[in-house]
């Protein structure tokens, strides 16, 4: 039916958000999709474990949307594309604007495209497993350590900036590249996301007070596998 679900960020957003980057430095505490690793360690430079704390769910606002989401995710069956909340901390080129078609027309009903105002592209091919990315800045401000971006459905955070000018930047990232990247792949700073899976199968099941409202907390873990569009659940 579906291969993944985009988290409805306008409808269901958490009160508190933890990006949850686990640097995998403590060999006893490494989590994989199945929980604790029996093998002692997975050699790597980190894995994302986003946490949504106290997601307000209310009958009059979004309870039906939350129920539909829980039903479609069906535990851990379907992966979700989670937003990364940067709270305005990203190399903003210009404000996001709504734009129409080139001839001035809009969609039926008045809907328009969203232009994020920030554009960056991959400037050099790199293989999965490497930690250096060269970025071509098309419409992008100064990149600083701590900024996060996504390429494809994988999320990375900038650790060092080796070199930067108005047109290009070379950065070191954590975690290592999950997949090969190609020239002109989009480096998404404005709306980064990460493909993730619920840690607990019953994580979306929450205490509903009088059946009307509640504030569940959700723990996710990054799905490190390359995106497979043919994977359907």
């Amino acid at each position: 039916m579906v291969s993944y679900i985009e988290w409805p960020r306008e409808l269901i957003s958490p009160r508190h958000y933890t990006p949850g980057f686990d640097p995998q430095t403590n060999p006893q505490d490494r989590m994989s999709l199945t929980g604790r690793l029996g093998n002692g360690s997975a050699p790597g430079l980190g894995i994302w474990r986003p946490r949504f704390s106290e997601v307000p769910v209310h009958q009059r606002i979004n309870q039906s949307a939350f129920d539909a989401l829980a039903a479609q995710m069906n535990g851990r069956d379907v992966h979700v594309l989670l937003p990364f909340y940067h709270f305005g901390k990203y190399p903003k080129g210009s404000d996001p604007v709504d734009v129409g078609f080139a001839n001035g027309m809009d969609f039926d009903g008045g809907n328009r495209f969203v232009s994020t105002g920030t554009t960056a592209l991959v400037a050099e091919n790199a293989f999965a497993g490497s930690t250096t990315v060269r970025i071509s800045k098309v419409a992008c401000a100064t990149i600083i350590p701590g900024h996060a971006f996504s390429i494809g459905r994988h999320l990375y955070q900038i650790r060092f900036v080796d070199m930067q000018n108005d047109s290009t930047a070379q950065v070191r990232i954590r975690p290592e590249l999950r997949d090969d990247i190609l020239i002109r792949d989009e480096v998404e700073f404005a709306r980064p996301w990460v493909m993730a899976t619920l840690v607990e199968g019953m994580g979306m099941d929450f205490d509903q007070q009088f059946g009307r409202y509640g504030t569940p907390s959700l723990q996710f873990i990054e799905n490190t596998a390359p995106f497979d569009p043919d994977h359907e659940v």
């Binding site: 360690s41 999965a128 290592e176 490190t224």
Partner: protein, 198 residues
């Protein structure tokens, strides 16, 4: 020459090298390359990609025996049904007597680049394939599937029972009709002194 190259020693002492394990499964119909990391990637200049097992694979942990004794262990793949259901095959002939080559890799702690050569750590002989399913728990844990491959070390032949013994009865079984009594004296020859019968 030591066990490690000077480049590897420098990386271990100064740069916090990470140790990875990689396995080459030589199944009958194909060879599969996997390692225990999170990324499907190449190491060095190799053409093939190694599939990251992302914590799904648990490898055997017995060391290479210094005394030549055989040990057995398991490769276990745990995971969600969707992730490994395509691996739930059951062809014993794919694994029986085939080799698994295990490599030890030193990766740079900062860049995860391979340092020095890939060293062969151990060679296993696959003995058996088995898949099992465990049910869901009341706590909400998902049902799990496990695919396990039993392996023995390269010394597995030594663990097998010897064929026959050096006794006269066994020798008569091997060569019927031959009047050969030398194995009556095998114990005497082995001890060096005759057993005195009273």
């Amino acid at each position: 020459m030591g066990l490690f190259t000077s480049e590897q020693i420098k990386a271990i002492s100064e740069r916090g090298a990470k140790i990875a394990r990689a396995w080459e499964f030589r199944f009958k119909s194909e060879t599969v390359h996997v390692w225990n990391g999170n990324v499907n990637r190449r190491f060095g200049d190799e053409p093939q990609k190694w599939i990251g097992m992302r914590g799904h694979l648990q490898g055997p942990d017995f060391p290479f025996s210094a005394t030549g004794e055989n040990q057995s262990g398991f490769f276990r793949v745990h995971g969600l049904p969707e992730h490994i259901k395509h691996m739930m095959w059951d062809y014993q002939s794919e694994v029986y007597g085939r080799y698994v080559i295990e490599y030890t890799l030193f990766l740079d702690g900062q860049t995860l680049d391979l340092i020095g050569p890939k060293a062969v750590n151990q060679i296993y002989v696959m003995r058996r394939l088995r898949s099992a399913r465990s049910g869901a728990g009341l706590s909400g844990s998902a049902p799990g599937y496990t695919l396990s491959i039993m392996v023995a070390s390269l010394f597995e032949k030594r663990a097998e029972a010897a064929y026959g013994r050096y006794t006269e009865a066994d020798q008569k079984g091997r060569y019927p009709g031959m009047d050969d009594r030398i194995f009556n004296y095998a114990t005497v020859l082995a001890r060096g002194t005759p057993i005195k019968l009273i």
